[in-house]
Structures are given as structure tokens and as C-alpha cells.
């Protein structure tokens, strides 16, 4: 049994009188692919925001690599090895695809800015490495054709993949994907599932994803949590979730078994 990379311990998040997450416990084993599902407004993205440090949980703790990361700043959490994508894509739209990925490399940089201005050889070498690594990643993700294009001019699917490439550039161990299959047709979703498995193996990742496309969730996730109104109503593997009466009532609906097959 591998150790847990990420743990949420009794996390509660309140906004004024609204309780967005209540007493949530989650544990993600290393190198697993897990899913977080639930109806709209169930608090899924809030969970992401708590893990990535945008919100400090009202109660409870988030642990990452056996370390309490509750209350750390977002950029500090990123440098520990955690990256995410956004539900509504948030690229740096005025920059080229390559520059977007290069920005992701910044967090691993060792040389200071004045070394770059003075043109010291170490800094110049690092600059070349950043560019080479970014090009390599773009190539791996299959976007090298768009390398010099502005991010805003990329087609939708390419923007989604660029966001993942940018996240991978920070060398994460844990990747959070917020609705990666949104707006994709069945063929593209299928490719996405393979893609998620591939990057997990290639980059040694632990992945947590939020998704509404049940085909993707059931197909790729090894473990699934179901949220409703901020409360965990079920967890387990795909088969257990599919047959769980509470989940069917709250979220999936009666005809899920027909749809998923």
C-alpha cells in the first residue's frame, strides 16, 4: 500500500453563513487518479481552492507529502509540487504558447534577475534550459505547431492542453484538473482519458479531477468522492459509486447505467 500524498482532515470551509464544505476527509494515495463529482454548487471547486491555498479552511488541515500546508500561500504550495488547471481556462493570453509554458518553469529557477541582466553564463545557460524544457513539453503535449502563436488564438482544445502543459512545467507531483473534458466531444474525451493516464505514468503524478462527463470519470478514476451541498455522500471505486442509491438520487439519475455503458 503506497502512502497518501494528499490528505484532507476534517476540513470545513464557511463563507459567512454558508457552509461550502463540511467536515471533509479525503486521502489520495500516491500515483493514483481520483475523481471528485457532484451537482453544481456542491463545493468541488472550493475543495480545489482550499488545497491550492486560495482559501484558508475555517477548520481542519490539508496535508501534502506528510506536511501541513494549511494556510500557506498559493505560490509556496506550488513550489512544493502542486499544480492545477482552471474550470474556465486561465492562460496568459497575450503571451505565446511557448512563453506560457516557460512561465511555469519560473518556480524552479535558481538564478537571480540581476545575473540575467549582467549576462552571467550560468543565468544564460538556465535561460536556454528553460526554453528547451518548455519546447520539449510542448512537443510532448503535441502543441509544438502552436509554439509561437499567441495563447488567445489557439483553438479551444489546444488551450485546455496548453494549460496542462503549463502546469506540468512546474514539475508537480500532484495535479488538480478542474473539468478537463468540458466542451469536448466524445472522441476528444476518449483521447483525454488516455492522455491523463499517460501523463500520470510519464511524470509520476497523482491526479485529482473534477468532471461532469461520467464516461471520463468512470473510465479513468480509480477512486471517486461524491459531494452534495458540501458534504461527502459517497466514496469508492467506479462500480460502487454507480450502484450507490444516494449518488443516483442526488446526482447521476436513474438512467446512469444505461448512459455509462
Amino acid at each position: 500500500m503506497s502512502r497518501n500524498l494528499v490528505e484532507l482532515r476534517e476540513v470545513t470551509m464557511r463563507f459567512g453563513g454558508v457552509t461550502a464544505i463540511e467536515n471533509l476527509n479525503m486521502a489520495l494515495p500516491e500515483r493514483g487518479i481520483a475523481g471528485l463529482i457532484g451537482p453544481n454548487g456542491a463545493g468541488k471547486t472550493t475543495v480545489f481552492n482550499v488545497i491550492t491555498g486560495f482559501y484558508k479552511p475555517t477548520e481542519g488541515h490539508v496535508r501534502f507529502k506528510d506536511r501541513d500546508i494549511t494556510g500557506l500561500k498559493t505560490h509556496e504550495i506550488c513550489s512544493l509540487g502542486l499544480a492545477r488547471t482552471f474550470q474556465n481556462i486561465r492562460l496568459f493570453y497575450n503571451e505565446t504558447a511557448l512563453e506560457n509554458v516557460m512561465i511555469g518553469r519560473h518556480v524552479r529557477r535558481t538564478h537571480r534577475w540581476w545575473e540575467t541582466v549582467l549576462g552571467l553564463s550560468g543565468a544564460r545557460q538556465e535561460e536556454r534550459d528553460i526554453r528547451a524544457k518548455a519546447e520539449q513539453l510542448l512537443d510532448r503535449i503535441g502543441l509544438s505547431a502552436y509554439s509561437g502563436e499567441k495563447a488567445s488564438s489557439l483553438p479551444y482544445g489546444a488551450q485546455r492542453r496548453l494549460e496542462i502543459a503549463r502546469a506540468l512545467a512546474t514539475e508537480p507531483e500532484f495535479l488538480l484538473l478542474d473539468e478537463p473534458a468540458a466542451g469536448m466531444n466524445p472522441q476528444e474525451s476518449l483521447e483525454l482519458m488516455n492522455f491523463i493516464r499517460q501523463i500520470r505514468d510519464e511524470f509520476d503524478l497523482t491526479i485529482l479531477l473534477i468532471e461532469h462527463d461520467m464516461k471520463v470519470v468512470m473510465g479513468v478514476c480509480e477512486h471517486i468522492w461524491v459531494l452534495e451541498y458540501g458534504k461527502l455522500i459517497a466514496e469508492g471505486d467506479a462500480a460502487a459509486i454507480r450502484s450507490n442509491p444516494r449518488v443516483i438520487e442526488a446526482y447521476l439519475g436513474e438512467d446512469v447505467n444505461n448512459a455509462a455503458d
Binding site: C78, R90, F92, E95, H106, R109, W113, T116, I130, T170
Partner: protein, 369 residues
Amino acid sequence: MNAKPAFNKRDAALTALALAVLYLFLWWADGSMAGALSWSFLPSPLNGYEIQILNLVAVYGILAISLNIIYGFTGMFSLGHAGFMAIGAYVSALCVLSPEQKEIMWIIDEILPPLAALHTPFWFSVILGGVVATIFALFIGIPVLRLGGDYLGIATLGFSEIIRVLIVNATPITNGSLGIKGIPCYTDLFTSFTWLIIVIFCTVRLLNSNFGNVLKAVRDDEIAAQVMGINVFHAKLFSFCLGAFLAGAGGALLGNLLTTIDPKMFTFLLTYNILMIVVAGGLGSITGSIIGSVIITVLLEWLRVVEEPLDLGFIHIPGIPGMRMVVFSVCLLIIILYRREGIMGMREITWNSIGRWFSSLGQSKEDKA
């Protein structure tokens, strides 16, 4: 004038060539070439007024780049530029004036003893002006940079006014509203353009590196930048201080160019002039800032024509002082309405883009033939 870091030999050679041409031009313009060579076919050098305009172009270029780093590249709407320039100009003036001059000039209050004895070389005073401006930027930036958008603009504008009021009232240091006169005119053509070239070289090097990408990332999307592990506050503070340093140095050069500084010079109008250059040239474009500073400085002088009295024989229009600012505002309105991104937008002129432009010219000629 677009010194890209020399990644390859062709660019380095072309940059060196451009610099050589520029310095030859300056050598001719300031009249020392005629003195040294006494070739009869040389056109007569520029007069003092034209040289002054060229100097202003270089100084405004530095100032425009400094504001562009803050506003164009990092997306912080800062209106505190006049304040940083004032700090730079006063620090530099206090450094380069001789003790005797200071003793004569401070008539309201005695000058502070340690300042009275201060006497440093010009280049050092420019850097010190920048450093002091940076220290002020740190103090103002740490509380204020948490604000976003227009609020930051208002706060920095307030800072700039505070600096001005401080200068008026700190008579033992600044000689109050009398200002400082008789600053030696150290900013000649070579000095101003050398500073401009050093500034361009360093900023282009920085902005073309991944640090430039990081600043642009903060401008485009702060939240995504945080997720990418960028310490957004640090990045903003860095950019703000760098801009302030260059503004301070630019202010020091300006003081030594005009030889007279007083608090009234550093009002919001000065910030507005720089802002105009940056916006007209293109937010987020260094070449745009240079082009903008050339066009706007020259245009502002050239537009003095409209302020002169006009005699058409049957009708006589007296000169209206300030008319050129009206014409100028109209020009700016037209830019904002029809070309919002400015002359260059976020693009840069590089040797590559010049090469492409020439080859496309050749292409179209071949097509016609």
C-alpha cells in the same frame, strides 16, 4: 535603437552598426565633428535648441521605459512618476552642486551641514538619485501595491503630491519653493544617449528573459500566476522598484539638462506627459516607448507654431498660449479612439522583423515584375 540581446552574430553586428551610426550622428550634431575634422562638405551642426530637443528625446525615452515597465509590462496603473523623478533630480542636484554654490543659494534656511559638504561626480549622482527613489518606492510600494487598478493610480498620485509638498517645506534640504538653480549642465548629447542605450540594453535583456514573461504573466492573470508559483507581490514590488529606479535616474538627467529645478516642475502634468508617451507608443513595447518619446517630444515643440499670432492680412489672430496642448489632446483622443493599443501595441521592432519587412518588400517587387 533596438538593442536586442545578441543571441547571434548577425544581430550583434547590426546592433553595433546601428550604435556606430547613432554616435557618428551625435558627434556631428553636437558640433565637435566639425571642430575635429574641418571637412568643408559637412552640413552645419544642429543649433542649441535642436540639441536640447534631442536630449529631451533621450531623457523622455528613459522615463517612458521606466513607466512602461510598471504599467505596460506588469499592468500596475501608477501615477507616481513625477514624485520619483523629483527625488532623483533633487538628490542629483544636491550631489553635483559645489559647497560654495549651495551656501549662496539657500537663503531662507541654512542648508543641512552634511549636505552642504556633499560633492560627488555626476554619474554617481544619477545612480544615487535612482537608489533613493527606489528606497521611497519600497516604502510606498509595500502598503500600496496590494491595491489594484484605479485605486493604485489614486494612491500613487497621492504619493507624488506628498513628495512635492515635502520638497516645498523641507527648506533646509531642498531650498523650498525657490528651487535649485545653476546646476551644471552635465547632460550633453553623449551622456543622455549613452544612458538611454544602457537602460534599453538592460531592460530588453531582462524583459526578454523569463523574468519578463513572469511580469507579463502577473499583468495578464494574477490568479493563474500565483498557481504557477509566482510570488505576485514580489514580482509587482520588483517591477515598481525597477521603474522607480529608472525614473529617479531619468529625473536626475532631466535636472542636469534643464539646470534649474523647482517643486512646480514635478506636478501631475509631468507624469501625464510620460504616460502619454507610453500609451501613444504602445503599452508593453520598448520600441514603442522610444518611438513615442521621439514623436511626442518633437511634436510638442513643433506644435508651438499654433501658439504664435497668426496674421492672414484681413484677419489677425493673437497667439493663444497653451493652444498646443489643446491640439495635442485632440491627437491623443484620436489615438485612443482609433488605435487604442498605441503605435506599436505590444509588438517590438527587432532585427528579425526588419529583415522580414525588407524581404516582403523584395517579394512584392518580384511579384510585380
